[in-house]
Amino acid sequence: MMRRTLAVAVKEVLQLRRDWRTALALVGMPVVLLLIYGFALSFDVRHVRLAVVDADGSRAAREVERAFVHSGYFDLVHRGEDSRIVDSLLDSGRAQAALVIPAGHAAALAASRPSAVQLVLDGSDAQTAATVLAYARQIVAAVSPPPRRPPSAGSAAARPLVWYNPDLASSRFLVPGLVAFILMVTTVIATALAVVREKERGSWESLRATPLGALELLAGKTLPYLVLAAAAAAGALLLAHVLFQVPLRGSPLWLALVTLLFLLGGLGWGVFLSTLADTQQVAFQAALFTTMLPTLLLSGFIFPISSMPPLIQAITHLVPARYFLIALRGIVLKGTGPEVWGADMIGLAVFAVAVLALATVRTVRSL
């Protein structure tokens, strides 16, 4: 068993060494992709184009305006006194938000009356609009004088306190997801061609005439790719730590184990697709189709699973990145141990064993 597995592994290494561009791509691509998309992917909203209409012209009005500009989230693109221009500014997209301070703002404040400051938002990008609205509320609250009336006794007030990611930088949440996404796609593509290539080239016929067993063949083919994928994962995680400030609060050993299980599942899925496909092209397309969108949409990478309909939530259980992300975020962001994400680690192990078993059953029939 071991001897023949090793024979296949040695052969794969020899072939990979000759096809070193592919080997290099497998190791280097995740780091390069993370470098490109890590910077692009962010929910943090900055440089919002802001127009200010100051119909009051008072010192108090300028204070509100200054608070917006100095917050660091806004770029001032227009300043005027006539609110009729707001329509065209938002229509043309020159401004994404318009702050309108009504005449009589300072007078109202002096008389201790509330004064409504209007914020007009371009809601066509709901995500950005919601974030800008939250920023604006904070800024306005900061410049408003505290209410004179003491809060009535017994009223409740929420005092937010954010753990693990106190400045709510979205990169800490998204970059681990991006790492999982990139690794899933590259591992599946790596092995998706492994078995079908032998069939296309005719060497399958020679293998069938040898004592080589299905499990020996698949194990021998997966091992070299597991080493490459582990190197790629280590590179990507290191980059996430150094460049994107993703911390490592938990145990590196647990991180390594969980990552290896995830990689094994990806490689196993690739091998399984390879045993199903008749041509390398079909295998490649199946690899992309079954990894990209599911990992992007159904893993909790971007959209929380808890807000999906029950049927979709059930489907997410088939997406290995779902388990990996819970464990990965737990380890790096929260420093939690297997008592928290143990079930997810088992989920990864079950997925890996199941797909490799399926691939073996498929291969036994044709080898």
């Binding site: 023949r4 016929e205 005439a209 004592p211």
Partner: protein, 318 residues
């Protein structure tokens, strides 16, 4: 004959069906020690299916197939240590060198002292100077020699070859057969499929296969004698005209074109077969042709038998 030696390979009632066609119907075949058994027949006769079943590459739909007394399909992982199979199409790794290809199969079979074995084999098949060359850069004949080295690395007792010389140049073809002859002299048994009837003459036993059935079986020389009647060979002249001139004569049973010549088969009772044919040609105004009676060849028999099977008047008759 005393008790027959136990066959190394045996098939009884072997049948293979594909989705839309019957590839083999009830084939009986044995290969005993140091025999060279040839399977001849046109493309689609079922040669490859028979070999693949006997080599344990696919399961038969019916019949019993054994190697060394054990069922081939069920025990294939063990039996593959004693069988060698050379596929029709180049089935090695083009992106590995000659050495690495042999090494891979040596490790798969768990060959002891495989380095010595590999060196000796590569020297023997004449690939010693090309050991570091990638297999995809070898010529067709050299690829076939490498494939042979890979199937011999584990010292099989029976070698199964599927058209080993198809697409190979005549010189290499001769070298391959010389090599196979040496191996047989050393005790290897061969089961070989070939479309070339001159190669079939090298076999100790031949099975004529047509449309999944055995038409005849025996020593090549004995098979040639199966042809009823006598054969007259006509050389020179327009082959179509010659064939047309002979086709109508009552004494001449069939006419077939053989390369540059035309073969006519006559009833055994004909007094002088050559004279009969010469008369037929003269009657058609054809003169100056070389006409002589020859011993029937394996090819005459083969064409006769297949023509009878299909019900056609005569294959290739013009």
């Amino acid at each position: 004959m005393t008790a027959a030696p136990a066959p190394l390979l045996a098939a009884r009632g072997l049948s293979v069906r594909y989705r839309d066609a019957q590839a083999l119907a009830s084939l009986d075949l044995t290969v005993t020690a140091s025999e060279v058994v040839g399977l001849i027949g046109p493309d689609g006769a079922g040669k490859t299916s028979a070999l693949r079943v006997l080599a344990g590459l696919m399961e038969a739909n019916g019949g019993q197939v054994t190697a060394f007394g054990e069922p081939v399909w069920q025990r294939r992982r063990v039996l593959h240590h004693r069988l060698g199979y050379l596929a029709q199409r180049f089935a090695l790794y083009g992106d590995l060198t000659v050495d690495e290809n042999v090494q891979f199969f040596a490790l798969l079979y768990g060959v002891r002292r495989w380095r010595e074995k590999r060196d000796e084999l590569l020297h023997r098949v004449g690939l010693a100077p090309f050991r570091r060359r990638l297999a995809e850069h070898l010529s067709g004949g050299m690829k076939q020699k490498l494939a042979l080295a890979c199937t011999l690395i584990h010292d099989p007792e029976v070698l199964i070859l599927d058209e080993p010389t198809t697409g190979v140049d005549p010189v290499t073809r001769r070298e391959l057969w010389r090599l196979l002859g040496e191996l047989v002299a050393e005790g290897l048994a061969l089961l070989v499929a070939t479309p070339y009837l001159d190669e079939a003459a090298r076999c100790s036993r031949v099975l004529l296969l047509y449309a999944g059935r055995v038409l005849a079986e025996g020593h090549p020389a004995a098979l040639a004698k199966l042809l009823p009647g006598r054969v007259v060979r006509v050389e020179g002249g327009e082959r179509a005209a010659v064939a047309a001139a002979l086709a109508g004569r009552p004494a001449i049973r069939d006419v077939a074109v053989f390369g540059a010549a035309v073969h006519a088969r006559l009833e055994t009772t004909a007094a002088d077969a050559a004279a009969e044919v010469a008369a037929a040609l003269a009657a058609a105004g054809l003169h100056g042709l070389e006409v002589r009676e020859i011993a029937p060849s394996l090819e005459d028999t083969f064409l006769y038998l297949t023509a009878r099977r299909t019900g056609a008047p005569s294959p290739e008759a013009a």
